[in-house]
Symmetry: C2
Subunit: 345 residues, 2 copies
C-alpha cells in the first residue's frame, strides 16, 4: 500500500494523537522565542525520540533563512574562543549590541569519557549569555553510529533555525570524517589552522582542504603564521579542479579579538557570493541530497528492526559467524529477503 | 517469499552462472598462493563489484586463524615505518627470515586529492618485498560513504586471510571516527603516540583511548617521551570502567628499530591473553555484530535503490527541499513506504 500524504505515512502511526498535538504546540512555542520549549525540542531531536520526525516536519516551514556557519579544525586550534568572538560580533553583548542578529551555537564534541570535562567547560563558557533570548548555545556529544552525529547536528540546527536564529554557528572538535560531514551541512565552512601544530600539511588531510570556504589562521601572533598561509596557498595551487571561489586566508588572534572583524567581513562577502547565480540554493540542494540519503538509511534500518533484525538477533548470528558456523554474506542475503517479504503482508 | 539457502538468495541473481564459476576459481587460486589472483580479488572487493559477496563468501571458510593487528595514531607519528619494522619482525626479510610468518599489510588512507602522493610513497616503501609470496601489501584510499571504508577494509583483510597470511597489519592514517571503526575490526589495536605533537591530551580524543590494547610511544628518542607516557597513565587512571587488561605502554624508535622486539613481545602477550577465557572469540563476535549491522545497511540501501530511490530521484527531491517546496520527513516516510510496498509484488 502506498501512502500519498504525510498523515497516512509512518511517523504518525508511531504517535498518539495527543502526543502529536503536544509537539505542534511545542514547536509553536519555540517559534515564538520560548527558550524552554527550544531546549526541550532540541533534547527530543538529539535523543532521536519517536516524535522527532513530526517535530522536525513542523519546524521545517520556518527554516531556510538563517546562515549556517561551520567551524572545523584540529583540536587546540582555538575554535571555541573564535566561535565565542564571532557570536559576539554577530549578536553583540548585552552591554554592547552590535549587529543585533540572533545567534545559535552548536558545539559538537564526539568526546571520549576521558575528556568529558570539555562539555562542562562549554557550559561555563556560554553562561554570560544566560537570560538573553537572542542567543542560544548547546553542546552535543552524542556518539553512536557513523554519520549519526552529523544527522543529529543538522536536525538540531534546523530546530534552532525555526526558533528564529539569524546565524547558526556549528563548531566541531577535530577534523575526522564525522566532522567533515557536519561541516558540509553548513552554508559556509571555516577551517581553522594554527602555526606550529605538528606537521601542518599532514594535518590538512582527509578532505578538509576541499570543504573550506575560508581559512582562518588563528593564534597568528605566534611564529609561523606566514608559513601556514604559504602552505595553504601551495596546496591550493596543486588542486586539480580549481573552485570558482578561491578561499581567502584570514589571520586572527581569537584571545585578543584581533582579526575577528576582518573574518566577519570575509563571511559576509562569502554570503554575498553565495547569493549570486543561485549558488546558495545549489549548495543547499547538495546538502539535502546527502542528508536525504542518510535519513533514508536510518528509516530503512528502523523498519528492518521492526521486521526482525534487532540487536539480539545480530548478536546471536555474530557469535556463530565468529566461530565459523555461519557465512555472513549468506546471512545478509537471507535477512534482507526476510525484511522485505515480512513486510509484504 | 523467504529464502532458506544461499543459492536462492540475492547475490546469485546478480551473477551469471559462468561468472560465479570464475569467482570460485579465482578464490581457489588465491588460496593456493597465487599473488595475481589475490590482487584481482582484492580489487573486486575494494571496488564493491557485484561478485564481491560471492567472492567473500567463498573466502570465508578459509579464515579465522590469522591475527589482525590495527595500527592507528595521529598523522606524522611514524606509523608507516613502525608497520614496516613489525612486518620484518613477523616475516623476516628475504635475507634474514626470522619468525617466518606470512604477512599482509593494508595501509588505509582516506586521502585528499591534495596529498595523493602518500600512496606513491607506499608503493616505493613496499617494493623491497616484491617477489616474496609470503608478503603482500596494499594501499587503500577509497573515500565514499561514511563507514564504507571500514567495511571495505574488513573485506580486504578477509581476502588476505584466505590467501593464507598469518598476520594482517592494518594501518590507518589519522585518528578520526572512520579510523576508529577500522581499528575496531582488528584483534589487537596499537595506538601510536609521539612526544611533542601539539596538545597530547587533546590528540587522544574521540574514542581513541578506549580502543588501545597497546600504546606505542614512537620517536621515543625525542624529548618528552616520559611526559607522553605519564599522560597516558593519568588518563587511564581517570577511566571510569577499568578494563580487565591495562594496555601496556611500549617505547619505540621505528627509524632505528629500537623497541620493535619489545613491541612484538607485547603483541604476543596480548594474543596469549586474548586466547584465554574465550576473549578472542568474544571480541570477534563483537566485531561481527558491528560489521553485520553495516552490511545489512548497505544491502538494504542497494535493494532500496533497485526499488526507485536512486541518486537522480534524491537529487530532484533535494532541490525541492532546499527551496522549501517539499518537507523531507514526509518524503522519507513516503519513499520508505514505496520501497517496501514496491517489493511486495
Amino acid at each position: 500500500m502506498e501512502s500519498n500524504s504525510y498523515n497516512d505515512a509512518t511517523p504518525k502511526s508511531r504517535l498518539g494523537g495527543a502526543s502529536h498535538h503536544a509537539i505542534i504546540n511545542l514547536v509553536s512555542r519555540l517559534r515564538q522565542g520560548d527558550t524552554r520549549a527550544l531546549a526541550r525540542a532540541i533534547s527530543l531531536v538529539e535523543n532521536d525520540a519517536p516524535v522527532a520526525p513530526v517535530l522536525l516536519s513542523a519546524c521545517f516551514p520556518s527554516t531556510g533563512r538563517a546562515l549556517r556557519i561551520g567551524i572545523t579544525g584540529a583540536p587546540g586550534a582555538g575554535k571555541s574562543t573564535l566561535v565565542d568572538r564571532l557570536a559576539r560580533v554577530f549578536h553583540g553583548t548585552p552591554e554592547l549590541p552590535q549587529n543585533n542578529k540572533t545567534v545559535g551555537v552548536i558545539a559538537v564534541d564526539p568526546t571520549s569519557p576521558f575528556t568529558g570535562g570539555a562539555l562542562l567547560g562549554d557550559r561555563i563558557r556560554f553562561q554570560n549569555y544566560h537570560g538573553d533570548p537572542g542567543f542560544y548555545a548547546r553542546s552535543m556529544a552524542t556518539r553512536g553510529s557513523l554519520g549519526g552525529l552529523a544527522l543529529s547536528t543538522a536536525d538540531v540546527a534546523l530546530v534552532l533555525e525555526a526558533s528564529g536564529k539569524d546565524v547558526i554557528l556549528i563548531e566541531t572538535v577535530g577534523v575526522g570524517q564525522d566532522e567533515i560531514e557536519i561541516a558540509r551541512l553548513a552554508d559556509i565552512t571555516l577551517v581553522v589552522l594554527v602555526p606550529g601544530m605538528g606537521d601542518d600539511v599532514q594535518s590538512l588531510k582527509a578532505g578538509v582542504m576541499e570543504i573550506a570556504d575560508i581559512f582562518v589562521v588563528n593564534k597568528s601572533d605566534r611564529e609561523g603564521a606566514d608559513r601556514v598561509e604559504q602552505e595553504v596557498r601551495a596546496l591550493q595551487s596543486l588542486a586539480s579542479d580549481h573552485p570558482a571561489h578561491t578561499p581567502p586566508v584570514v589571520r586572527t588572534t581569537a584571545t585578543t579579538g584581533d582579526g575577528i572583524e576582518t573574518l566577519a567581513t570575509a563571511i559576509d562577502q562569502m554570503q554575498q557570493w553565495l547569493l549570486q547565480e543561485n549558488r546558495l540554493s545549489k549548495r543547499r540542494a547538495q546538502h539535502w541530497q546527502r542528508r536525504l540519503d542518510a535519513m533514508l538509511r536510518t528509516e530503512l534500518m528502523r523498519r528492518a528492526r521492526q521486521n526482525g533484525f534487532d540487536a539480539n538477533v545480530l548478536q546471536f548470528h555474530a557469535a556463530r559467524i565468529a566461530s565459523g558456523q555461519q557465512d555472513p554474506w549468506q546471512l545478509v542475503a537471507q535477512l534482507t529477503e526476510k525484511v522485505f517479504s515480512g513486510n509484504s503482508t
